[in-house]
């Protein structure tokens, strides 16, 4: 075991994601406590130019291969597994993102390491490895300990400030060959799909009226639209509303939707799952309405009202519009 901390970096179209810098910042904090070194796994094709952005790392483990031009669930996963096997890190930090969801479980199964998912924080002191995780869509926190002295942690967004992980530098580069699975891949990348265009841009609104599953039916969305109109803003939604086909994808806030920072974010019947919260927590004023006094949304909101959204929605529309 090297005792190192390995960060699995993530990039798309030549740019690292925020998740990458959050994990680098977290790794630096953990290394400060334990005296370990921080390695960054960089996997792709002709990506050496990105090394300079990984200044927080002590060393970059580079797998550069034409077969890895775009993220490939099988090829990239096998590449991370090969790096973990070769360098035997103590801690592997994987972002709990679309790419990390292909990688984390495989590293656990193939490298024989425990995996802790949904982590909001990790402790890697000399005493052992532990973490705090969000279960049941953020309704419970679990304090977790790991058997043995090595583990993989799949980290939720927000574990450390991305700004602390952004530093230019020239870490040492250790290049390694791509594993055979990269070229022989049974999964071939074809094309990227771009977001739909033409709808209102919810990232450019001063005020968003955001509906969650509490809105209950497609017909009820009209009431929220009316309030948004009198406020001069737009309606946005949590994922289930979009998956039901009640509003277009362009209105989805969160991990797999858009990140918004309006002046006012009025959440109606949104529970506040971590995947939703990561797209809205930096809004200036967050007001949440929910029948459940324990809804996690009240943990990020600035103001909360416990009650039925259908009781307060018409009141607001009347007061503002009337």
């Amino acid at each position: 075991m090297s005792g190192n901390i390995l960060v699995v970096t993530e990039h798309l179209s030549g740019a690292f994601t925020d998740a990458t810098f959050e994990l680098l910042a977290l790794a630096r904090n953990l290394a400060g406590v334990s005296g370990a070194e921080v390695d960054a796994a960089l996997i792709g094709n002709s990506v050496e130019g990105l090394v300079g952005e990984l200044g927080v790392a002590d060393r970059v483990l580079l797998i550069d291969d034409p077969a890895l031009e775009s993220f490939n669930p099988v090829g990239h996963t096998a590449s991370v597994v090969s790096l973990v096997d070769a360098t035997e890190p103590r801690v592997v930090l994987v972002p709990y993102t679309s790419t990390g969801m292909d990688i984390a479980s495989h590293v656990s199964a193939q490298c024989g390491l425990p995996l802790v998912s949904y982590c909001q924080s990790v402790d890697a002191s000399s005493a052992g490895l532990s973490a705090t995780c969000q279960l049941y869509a953020g309704k419970l926190l679990a304090d977790v300990e790991v058997d043995g002295d090595r583990a993989v942690f799949a980290m939720l967004s927000g574990a450390a400030p991305a700004a602390d992980g952004r530093r230019e530098g020239a870490p040492a580069v250790e290049a390694r060959a791509a594993p055979p699975e990269a070229a022989a891949s049974t999964t071939r990348f074809r094309a990227l799909g771009e977001p739909e265009a033409g709808d209102v841009d919810i990232t450019a609104q001063d005020v968003l009226v955001v509906v969650g599953r509490g809105i209950d039916s497609e017909d009820n969305i009209e009431e929220a639209v009316e309030l948004a109109e009198v406020l001069g803003g737009a309606v946005a939604a949590s994922r289930p509303i979009v998956d039901q086909g009640w509003l277009p994808k362009t209105r989805q806030v969160g991990k797999s939707g858009l990140t918004v920072k309006p002046k006012v974010y009025l959440a109606l019947g949104v529970s506040g799952a971590p995947e939703h919260v990561e797209g809205m927590r930096d809004s200036s004023t967050i007001i949440a309405v929910n029948t459940d006094p324990h809804a996690p949304i009240f943990g990020v909101a600035h103001y909360g009202w416990v009650g039925d959204l259908f009781d307060i929605l018409p009141e607001l529309t009347d007061r503002i519009g009337g």
């Binding site: 390491l113 995996l115 419970l140 994808k249 797999s256 529970s271 943990g299 600035h302 103001y303």
Partner: protein, 257 residues
Amino acid sequence: MDTVVLLRAVPDPVEELELDDTGTDLDRDFLGFVLNEFDDHALEEALLLKEDAGGTVTVVALGTADEVDQMLHTAVAKGADAAVKLGDDLGALDAHAQAELFSAALADRSPDLVLCGVQASDELDGQVAMLVAAKLELPHVSVVVATAPAAEGLTVTKEYWAGITADFDVSLPAVLGIQAARQAPRYVAVSRIRQAQEAGLLEEADAEPAGPSSGVRVVGLRIPDVGDGAEMLPADEEEAADRIVELLRAAGVGGPS
């Protein structure tokens, strides 16, 4: 194409969660369970693929709880061809142990495609879909939002973020973690579920509870103190509405304050 869909019951998200005396697990006695919402999407996608390309859909679940029967009957009513209950009295299993059971059962059945929900909100030690793929050494894509039959295998759309997706050609057999089906999951009339129940199609198959522990131990569960964050508004809806209007105007929206 023969597809297996893994279905899992999770605590009903609308219910309040309470801890048991050990403080390391939920008090499950009075808890309602429902099908994991992402599994409903996985089943829908499997049924859509069957409509596109023919073949069969088999739904598989672990354990013998009442909600498992209910889940499987509903799936049959929606159009699944077969339903299997694996093992009985398995007790609490972590994701690694479950994946071990599924891998053994799937290796025997050798389906062309295995679909799972992208995640369940209660599993700490990883995602069963990807653990199964790793154990069976099958190609895998997680966070899938559409599939389509292709010349060889499937074209699979994976969702990244901000509306960006990626298409992959995937050869079969393969394992996919479904985030959302191409269209909203279908509804089925209660009478059809009752018919499925009466038809008694559930197959029961043995499964040996697997040994390996994931090496992850819960030492404590806590309900986060959500009140810390928000200033709570008066219970009366008129007063609350007045306050919200004030807050909106103070923030510069909804007219002059």
